[in-house]
């Protein structure tokens, strides 16, 4: 995964953090998932202005554990989110999810 890509939450998702747990609703699929504590923290960092590399670095700074393991975990999580359509990548900073609407 290219560390220089900006990452944003997809236009199709609604989300809210309740009591530290992030819940994501896929509006197109009508499915809801909840994230565990670590995933919730990463999810909150995804704002369209943060690069993949920044997310990895922030996670390394925030979480205890082996550097390589954390990096692999973040990438795996981002890939999973991307597969589900919950995030999108771009070479440019996202101005906002509703940019073209």
């Amino acid at each position: 995964m290219d560390a220089n890509l900006f990452v944003a939450k997809g236009i199709n998702v609604s989300c809210r953090t309740i009591n530290g747990t992030s819940c994501i609703l896929f509006e197109d699929k009508k499915e809801v998932v909840s994230l565990n504590e670590t995933a919730s923290i990463i999810w909150e960092m995804i704002n369209g202005a943060t690069k993949v590399g920044d997310l990895i670095q922030e996670s390394i700074n925030n979480f205890d554990g082996d550097r390589i393991f954390i990096e692999k975990s973040v990438i795996s999580f981002l890939e999973e989110l991307s597969t589900e359509g919950a995030i999108v990548f771009s070479l440019e900073k996202f101005e906002g999810v509703m940019k073209n609407v």
Partner: protein, 351 residues
């Protein structure tokens, strides 16, 4: 790192934490229709400014709101209504819109689809154009609403047709179900015509006859057939309605209520933070103490298991938040006759 859950899990969590997870926002009371049964007592309020709604949505996000229902009046009488929708979606609120559909432009429909609005609910009162238009009191309204439904379904938008049943349309249930199917929309009926927000019960004369009500309740499209009651009369600790714990409603002036039928104001978002009002309002705190054990008449009522009593309506129509709701009782009696248990889990639910 993630696991599948149900929306019900979120609303239950919110109930325990007193988080206003699902909030109804009335963005105006202005309307281009004049529905005979409308619960609004005036159609003058134009709503807060876009900037004020943006601020409100920020406060709602902080308070934990996930779902927002945007309604009116007719919300599309506001020229900036789609900007309000956009502001809500930008904050990742899951949006449902209640509308009559008659004012939607092609661009509005396209934007609703692009913004992934969860659902659009459109009021249709009959399959008969004349009956529908006589209820809205606007000739041509049926055709416009149906045309909007077709266009939205074509765009992939989830449309739900909503129909409050009354004397004039009670015999049209099966046709409405077929029409909704043919349009690619879901169908939802309501069996109660409520008083207006100021307590005026003149709308009650529009309610279905007892015979129509029994017939309607028997219809599978009106009442889901379940065999076990979802409520427990012996659980004195159950709450009369979840909405005081995980709901909320805001009128066009910014007044905050437990729900749009429970018209006791806890504060105003133009003067105070929404989350603070929700958590700290003295009147809401007092309402949260009410339990089934405080509803003396309900505890000894033979038709308790069939009743979908709304505390707001009990207060509005019968002047007693802990007393019997005549509207609910009428429906419960029809349910008992037909042996049809209600499915509404937010009423008399466990805490």
């Amino acid at each position: 790192m993630f696991s599948e859950i149900k929306i019900r899990d979120i609303t239950d969590l919110a109930k325990c934490l007193i988080v206003p997870v699902s909030v109804l926002v009335e963005v105006c009371y202005t309307c281009n229709e004049k529905c005979v049964h409308c619960c609004l007592d005036n159609h003058n309020q134009r709503g807060m400014s876009l900037k004020q709604y943006e601020m409100l949505f920020d406060q709602m996000v902080t308070a934990g709101t996930f779902f927002v229902i945007l309604t009116g009046g007719e919300p599309f009488t506001r020229k900036d209504f789609m900007d309000i929708v956009r502001a809500a979606r930008k904050r990742r609120l899951s949006v449902t819109i209640f509308t009559n559909g008659t004012l939607l432009s092609e661009k509005d429909i396209s934007d609703i689809a692009k913004l992934f609005v969860q659902d659009v609910h459109v009021s249709i009162y009959s399959t008969n154009e004349k009956v529908h238009d006589s209820i809205t009191q606007i000739p041509g309204s049926f055709r416009k609403s149906i045309s909007a439904i077709r266009a939205m379904v074509k765009e992939g938008i989830n449309v739900r047709i909503k129909c409050p049943l009354m004397l004039a349309n009670a015999n049209d249930i099966s046709n409405l179900v077929k029409m909704a199917e043919s349009l690619g929309a879901k169908m939802q009926f309501a069996t109660t015509i409520t008083a207006r927000n100021d307590g005026d019960i003149s709308t009650h004369k529009l309610q279905m006859s007892d015979r129509q009500l029994v017939k309607a309740i028997k219809h599978s499209a009106v009442s889901e057939n379940i065999s076990v009651s979802v409520r427990d009369k012996d659980d004195g600790n159950s709450v009369p309605c979840d909405t005081i714990l995980n709901g909320g409603a805001i009128d066009p002036r910014g007044n905050v209520f437990p729900c749009n039928q429970w018209r006791i104001c806890g504060g105003n978002v133009l003067h105070d933070n929404f989350g603070k009002i929700w958590k700290e309002s003295e009147v809401f705190t007092a309402f949260r103490q009410i339990r089934l054990r405080n509803l003396v008449k309900c505890q000894t009522c033979e038709i308790f298991n069939y009743c979908t009593r709304c505390p707001g309506l009990a207060l509005l129509e019968d002047n007693d938040i802990c007393g019997c709701s005549a509207s609910a009782k009428k429906v419960a009696e029809a349910r008992m006759i037909t042996g049809t248990l209600p499915t509404q889990r937010h009423i008399f639910s466990k805490i």
